[in-house]
């Protein structure tokens, strides 16, 4: 059986390699992809959209409708992860550590009187002693990562980057926070409801900007019509519209990354993880 599968794989691979011979050479200016649409984007996009980065002008303006549904797909991924994995069962037993003495208390399921206060600390079942170096390094590093993520979102129309990359970087800074401290610290800092709200708000911002353009008398996502309500230079109004859209994408992606990580690493229980 494995042998037949190997033959099929080699046949398909050989066929695909054979078909690549018919492709135009890489960077060939006379190939069909480069002879109709690309010259228009390269020559006209700055005067039509006012955005120096061609990739952003294609993604957020010429193909804005596509990108909106890509964002919706990311939102659906987070929603599916939540629906499949989220588990509201309480843990069987909890461990608390008394910080001044180091005594560990075990609580069985029925106990309602859990110790509170700063002297007691909720422990993971597989407890690892805190590492001062990792905690301090992450504490210094995380604000800069987040600042860089905001820079990537804000400069999406000038340099490589945009909402998607910026959102992923911001989300990974929060994941780093959860890894360096523990999962409970992150879940307490950013509530699950907030994450759900953020992942929906991003898509709504994107669709909302499109709808505003429609209300002002243009097509869906026709940012040029925003001049009627925003006091900006008409030459750059499309760049501002794209910035708003990128912010929406960034918010959704950031929230969805954290939702997926938290649900996978804690098996949906949101109590302990890596």
């Amino acid at each position: 059986m494995r042998f037949i599968a190997l033959i099929i794989v080699f046949l398909c691979g050989g066929l695909l390699l054979y078909a690549t011979a018919d492709f135009p050479a890489w960077g060939d200016p006379n190939s069909p992809a480069n002879s109709y649409l690309s010259p228009h984007f390269i020559e006209k996009s700055i005067e039509e959209t006012g955005v120096p980065n061609l990739v952003t002008s294609v993604l957020a303006d010429y193909r804005g409708f596509d990108t909106m549904f890509e964002t919706a797909v990311v939102f659906c991924a987070g929603l599916a992860c939540f629906l499949l994995l989220r588990n509201y069962d309480r843990k069987e037993e909890n461990f608390y550590r008394h910080l001044p003495t180091g005594v560990i208390i075990q609580f069985k399921k029925g106990d309602k009187t859990l110790p509170v206060g700063k002297e007691f600390e909720h422990m993971d079942t597989e407890w690892v002693p805190y590492d001062l170096i990792i905690k301090t390094a992450c504490r210094i590093l995380i604000p800069f990562i987040q600042l860089y993520a905001l820079y990537v979102v804000a400069h999406g129309d000038f340099s490589p980057g945009g909402g998607f990359q910026g959102g992923v970087i911001f989300g990974s800074s929060l994941i780093l926070y959860a890894i360096a401290y523990n999962l409970r610290t992150l879940v307490q800092r950013i509530k699950e409801k907030m994450l759900g709200l953020f992942s929906a708000v991003g898509v709504l911002i994107y669709a909302g900007i499109g709808l505003i353009c429609m209300i002002l008398g243009g097509n869906f996502l026709d940012y040029g019509k925003l001049t009627q309500i925003l006091p900006f230079d008409p030459g750059h109004i499309r760049a501002y519209g794209m910035l708003g859209v990128e912010i929406g994408v960034g918010i959704t992606v950031m929230a969805v990354m954290v939702v997926i990580y938290v649900n996978i690493v804690s098996e949906g229980k949101h109590d302990e993880g890596l």
């Binding site: 990739v55 998607f164 990359q165 992923v168 970087i169 990974s172 994941i175 997926i260 990580y261």
Partner: protein, 81 residues
């Protein structure tokens, strides 16, 4: 100069891809997959698609490796086949 860089990166990419599907330890597979993504990122950057390279670096090499490690942490390290 261009094709030598291409050749080195492509060799590493194929090496990482083959290693990722043959290694028995799933944690190693996750790390090798991250290395593969990083090589792909370099390849995109060499070809001039900097936006795609950026996405590959942040999503492929960054967050998806973390997701794989998290999934391995909650399941098992050994694979049967």
């Amino acid at each position: 100069m261009h094709w030598q860089i291409d050749l080195i990166i492509l060799t590493f990419t194929i090496f990482c891809a083959l290693a990722a599907i043959t290694v028995k330890d799933l944690l190693s597979t996750a790390i090798l997959f991250g290395a593969y993504s990083f090589m792909m990122c370099l390849l995109w950057a060499v070809m001039g698609a900097v936006d795609v390279a950026f996405t590959e670096a942040s999503v492929g090499a960054g967050v998806s490796t973390v997701f794989f490690v998290a999934a391995v942490f909650r399941t098992g390290r050994r694979t049967k086949d």
